[in-house]
Subunit: 223 residues, 2 copies
Amino acid sequence: MVGHNIHKTNGNKKIPEPTLKRLPLYLHYLKGIMNKGQMNISAPVIGNDLRCDPTQVVKDLSVTGIKGKPRVGYNIYELIQNIETYLGFNKNNDAFLIGAGNLGTALLSYEQLQGFGINIIAAFDNDPAKVGQQQGHINVLHISKLQDLVTRLHVHIAILTLPGDVAQDIAEKLVKWGIKAIWNFTPVYLKLPQHIIVQHTSMYANVAVLLKKLHHAENTYIE
Amino acid sequence: MVGHNIHKTNGNKKIPEPTLKRLPLYLHYLKGIMNKGQMNISAPVIGNDLRCDPTQVVKDLSVTGIKGKPRVGYNIYELIQNIETYLGFNKNNDAFLIGAGNLGTALLSYEQLQGFGINIIAAFDNDPAKVGQQQGHINVLHISKLQDLVTRLHVHIAILTLPGDVAQDIAEKLVKWGIKAIWNFTPVYLKLPQHIIVQHTSMYANVAVLLKKLHHAENTYIE
DNA sequence: TAGATTGTTAATCGATTAACAATC
DNA sequence: TAGATTGTTAATCGATTAACAATC
């Protein structure tokens, strides 16, 4: 199955992670522009609106296999299609959500996640009070049903929005049952086999950067 | 006020952002270790548990001004104190939350945010149905009261958990009223004066990385 | 044609990793 | 003392930025 890309994308070549993280930003921006009825857009314009280097825009977009025209730029519709296809946002990647607390519930009712390729098909919790609820069309099931459903439905993605102290334990079980990628919203580092993809999304990492920049600014400039 | 650091931290020297983002991870890990009654810990042990290079651990921790002892390592309590002080996690940095939807509500009831230096003192929404509610001890006020309270209370941090299409508009107003840092949970790029600190926390950036790694893995190895 | 823009290759910049001296 | 670990300086690696040729 290697090298069978229909579009001429960069295939399995290693793409810089910063590039991958910028693509959704371009995508959202481009959808806004398209809704205004515009047909084409150039890298310098994108760079100006999103305050980033135009050559970086060119490089970032090129990974999706898009071809632009000198003096014209890129076709916006084609560009959106390419980014979505490249990132897998127009597929439905089935996922289970584990931990139906506040953050979990927020994610469940975030219909937009589906527009970004993540299709949460069920949520799990150990709290009997939460089991049986419906959150944004998704049922909350008891955690005891997790093993059976993961194995039967061949779900590959798990979203962890549960307390940190049980995260490692559940993660190990999920891996045993066949989960291949974990989106980790807990503050704990998950020590799992190297082939398991763990995406750590920590609020606190962002708080750290924000506070440090703020205090730095406050100490640097006279108020 | 420049250079008056009591602890010998790296002060206002430029610290790599990746380092800042790793510090909360160390912090959480160290608190777990301390609760087990351990007194000291060495960089190689941390590196092994958190799967990162021990020399990087040494370099990361050194920015907080901690001094370790050869053959012993670092005093865990002192290390925790230094990281918290360095990041500003033991101060109460007042913040307003704007948009009391699902994600906003999740953040409000996330008491732990306070332990990481962010003290949300009020939430705002334009939905009358939400105004007057209490979410985790924080009142939801009508958006019309925002201007008055931002200016009167000298709040410097705003957390944006509102719909993307109004984000730029509200952000510009907030800046006019004196907000210095914005934690942006919307998918839009906020074009604001350069001196305003904008911390963009996008779910989608993480989805992009996760899906790409997953599909890459699925295409690389024979199943 | 002239000029703006793409797309690629080279140079720079910054972060990570390696090497090694200092030290308890 | 011997050896593990810190802490610093140098080398490597990777991403960003700059330069420039190709092209519509």
